[in-house]
């Protein structure tokens, strides 16, 4: 029984709990509250806005530190979108830039100890992914009409294979919102669980006195290394989310392969 008590104490899932901060009453029988998730989303939006507003307010010819940070992030997303979706894709720049900065800031904020990782919840990532896919579908039909369905018929396929290829293309299109949301969510979830599991090894070992403290150096080093890896993953997943969004938008703009 003592073992289960210890396991509860070091529960790696505990960090993902959603805690209401203050109640906003009920709307249509649904309980609405301002949670820690909403708090961290608000913090991320405030940080992004202040970075970009402060960064672009001076408009110096030789940029300072904050201005070059704002310019680098702008250039980075703009180049990525221009390369994958072409010049016409640039009309979606505000959308893709907001998505990239939002996901990046949420991922990085979640790495601080005791901070909540908003992107480790499937609700958030699925909402973002559905917004992306709906934009692709609606804009695809709006711009191309029924020719948008040509997306599912690759050129140069022998006639008898066409039904099979169309089926595969439709399935791969349908799995896009699933994979887009699950990739971000599962990466953040798995990374943070691994971090906490190794961190709990330090506590468990240090319970054995001096010998345990020496042994605890190993999981401590592992935790430091994993934190470094998680910084990379946080950036990489934001980049992957943004680049997949621009590639899907490219499909809406140029549906024929």
């Amino acid at each position: 029984m003592e073992e289960t008590a210890a396991a509860d104490k070091f529960d790696p899932i505990h960090q993902f709990g959603i805690i209401p901060i203050f109640d906003l009453g009920t709307i249509g029988g649904v309980h609405i509250a301002f949670t820690n998730s909403a708090l961290f989303m608000a913090i991320a939006v405030i940080l992004i806005s202040s970075l970009l507003i402060v960064g672009t307010s001076s408009r110096a010819l030789v940029p300072g530190r904050i201005q070059s940070l704002a310019e680098i992030s702008y250039e980075f997303v703009a180049n990525m979108l221009r390369e994958s979706a072409g010049k016409e894709g640039m009309r979606f720049f505000p959308f893709v830039f907001s998505l990239f900065m939002f996901v990046l800031f949420l991922n990085v904020l979640g790495l601080f100890p005791y901070f909540f990782t908003v992107t480790s919840h499937i609700v958030i990532t699925a909402t973002l992914a559905i917004a992306v896919i709906l934009t692709v579908i609606i804009y695809g039909f709006y711009r191309n009409g029924l020719k948008f369905l040509g997306l599912f018929v690759p050129q140069g396929v022998p006639g008898f294979l066409t039904p099979l290829v169309v089926l595969i293309e439709v399935l791969s299109f349908l799995s896009r919102p699933l994979s887009l949301s699950v990739r971000l969510f599962a990466n953040m979830l798995a990374g943070h669980i691994t971090l906490k599991v190794f961190a709990s090894f330090i506590l468990m070992l240090s319970a054995y006195g001096f010998v345990g403290w020496i042994g605890a150096i190993l999981p401590f080093g592992m935790t430091v290394a994993l934190t470094a890896l998680e910084v990379l993953v946080a950036f990489l997943q934001a980049y992957v989310f943004a680049i997949l969004t621009s590639m899907y938008l490219n499909d809406a703009i140029h549906p024929s392969h």
């Binding site: 390369e83 994958s84 699950v182 990739r183 599962a186 990466n187 990489l236 980049y239 680049i243």
Partner: protein, 75 residues
């Protein structure tokens, strides 16, 4: 067999799927590196494609991890 034990074994079996994703991601980066050493000038231009391939390959491994996590914590 107890249901809890079967759950844990199932989660372990689900993790085998991640090995396939590991092979895929390794192949991807290995071939990218081989190509990049042959022609370093063209390497940067192909980086977005590398990341795209990585994302699509990794998704399959993530799916099996998700099944394992669901078995451990949700079922």
């Amino acid at each position: 067999m107890e249901a809890d034990a079967a759950k844990l074994i199932g989660a372990g079996i689900a993790c085998i799927g991640m090995g396939g994703a590991g092979v895929g991601v390794g192949t991807l980066f290995g071939h990218y590196l081989a190509g990049a050493i042959r022609n370093p000038a063209a390497a940067d231009g192909q980086f977005p494609r590398l990341i795209f391939g990585f994302a699509v390959t990794e998704a399959l491994g993530i799916f099996s991890l998700l099944i394992a996590l669901l078995l451990l914590y949700a079922v």
